[in-house]
Subunit: 338 residues, 2 copies
Amino acid sequence: MKHVTIKDVAKKLNCSVSTISRAFNDKYDIRKETRDHILSIAKEMGYSPNPMAKSLLKQCSNQIGVVVPEFINAFFPEVIIGIQEVFIKKGYQVLIMQSNESHITELENIKTLENNMVDGMIISLSLETKNVDYYKDLIKQGFPLVFFNRVSNELETSKVLFDDYKWAFFATEHLIYQGYKKIFHLGGPAGLVISQNRKNGFIDALRKHKISFDESSIIETGFMISDGERVMEKLIVENNLPEAIFAVNDPSAIGAMKMLKKHGYKIPEDVALLGFTESKLAELIDPPLTSVAQPTKEIGRTAAKLLLEQIETKGIFVPQTVILNGRLNVRESSMKLK
Amino acid sequence: MKHVTIKDVAKKLNCSVSTISRAFNDKYDIRKETRDHILSIAKEMGYSPNPMAKSLLKQCSNQIGVVVPEFINAFFPEVIIGIQEVFIKKGYQVLIMQSNESHITELENIKTLENNMVDGMIISLSLETKNVDYYKDLIKQGFPLVFFNRVSNELETSKVLFDDYKWAFFATEHLIYQGYKKIFHLGGPAGLVISQNRKNGFIDALRKHKISFDESSIIETGFMISDGERVMEKLIVENNLPEAIFAVNDPSAIGAMKMLKKHGYKIPEDVALLGFTESKLAELIDPPLTSVAQPTKEIGRTAAKLLLEQIETKGIFVPQTVILNGRLNVRESSMKLK
DNA sequence: AACGTTTCCGAAAACGTTTCCGGAGAATTA
DNA sequence: TAATTCTCCGGAAACGTTTTCGGAAACGTT
């Protein structure tokens, strides 16, 4: 448990701590031989500088924090891999925390990271988060923050987004072009911007093509498989099945699919399905699920680069919003069979 | 960026820093009114003690670290949720790091966490990790460490395991009872203990039932879908198909399934499949995959409790190995159809 | 020989806390 | 009244670093 400190090394070498420090920080005012000697002895003793003490002094840590709501679905883990890719190269360590979709936990995570003096954070908000005052404060203080996926319009920071509206529009059009008329949308949690955008894309596509719909065509569902199951079961019981469904994400689409299959319905013959934020599941499931693919790793890489830029320029910096492109992967679940 | 410190509060209140500290740490030698007054003013000023300074002084941080090789597959994220469950209740923060199956990154992660003065770590080793000297040192120093899933026999610490041998044995017997004779095993990376145990379970089950096999029945594959695809494609090309396959985990089984389906083979009629470490995929895929379910969250909770115990008893402590139980979920992919 | 430059290193302050030690005053006891 | 014990608080050291400042020695210049 005893860590060897700079003082131990100094004592052993009969020199001052400042000299040791100089050796480790490659300062100009130290003789090469002294430095090499110190370094070799220090290594032998198993010494390495305590970054915590360093952070306390320098008020920064060469660490960055990431807070995500969950990593049950594959989306966030994949983004994180992209983030790590960029930061590891630059010598930063990445601390990851999970808010469990809880506002309180999220806030605690943020504070923990702040207290660890991370140099910046990449955040995706929890479902519960409505009040973003704490983030406003951080931003006002000049703390480097980048948001992705779950963002708040109230915050002026860099953001990495996906054009949910556009791709929801395209996805819905795809269903329309297949010839479906009665189309439902299983929506995400109402509070989230991404839910709203996907919903609006859906609505506008129907409007453009003059497909009639009413409020019952749009059902707030959620992001989990269980949400899709629950809502689908209700529709089945009510005997109110559409010809096609555009779901807010893959898990909810898959939940719906499971329930339909359980009740003996055929996909896409009885009900066609289309998901969003494609996961590995999409092509493995039967029938394979048509879905909009997001460039997950690229989202992570982009967020990381934006944050890095912000950290390095320290102040002179304008918030940027980067919108990345996706792809509609058409598979069997949405095709109109003749 | 300027954080308000204990000194600022002291200055404002015209008292010493020690008094402020006492107020915050609820010491006995402070008058109640003084404490309340200090607390209210401090809150107003937005002060909260810097845990980093505290950690430096106390040499512990109320944080614990978790290092896992990946979180692409659902296994590790689920374990982490179990870990968090326990620690959040106890007021610990959980820092998560990902080694990306790289030994070097893993070591850096460990050092980062150590430097953050986490009070203990829960670790699952990377694929590459052979040399565990660094862990030996930590253990010798009395640093609380708990391993799970990917462990090393060289390390004397608490471990949370799954009886891979037993369940591999059961799984293989299930295939035998179905009447399959020519059974192959798609194995995990050879260096891992879990791979070896699952392989041995497979072998011993065949031996017990006097089913013949040779070394070509066991093929080192890997943990990813792509590994399953690669190996299966080779078998198909070589026209060397077994009647049934026991795969080291679900993704490899699923990879094999994908490739078989692609080439027009039927499952389980042409080749039966059985996975391990059941994921959500298992029941969603077509046909649903028979698999051994591990109690992932429970693994996390157990590891967390063991670590907590070790942290709290500080020294007087004997390493424990907990082996948790699982379940074989039989689904269509392994059934012998008449 | 006197002076100015380098080169190298040590002392000490600083980062934000907690805690030990001691001291002033009040309250209790003898 | 004197002595003792409490109660409450301030001063200072400590945690492990980096960095500023200054100083000693060695060297080069007039």
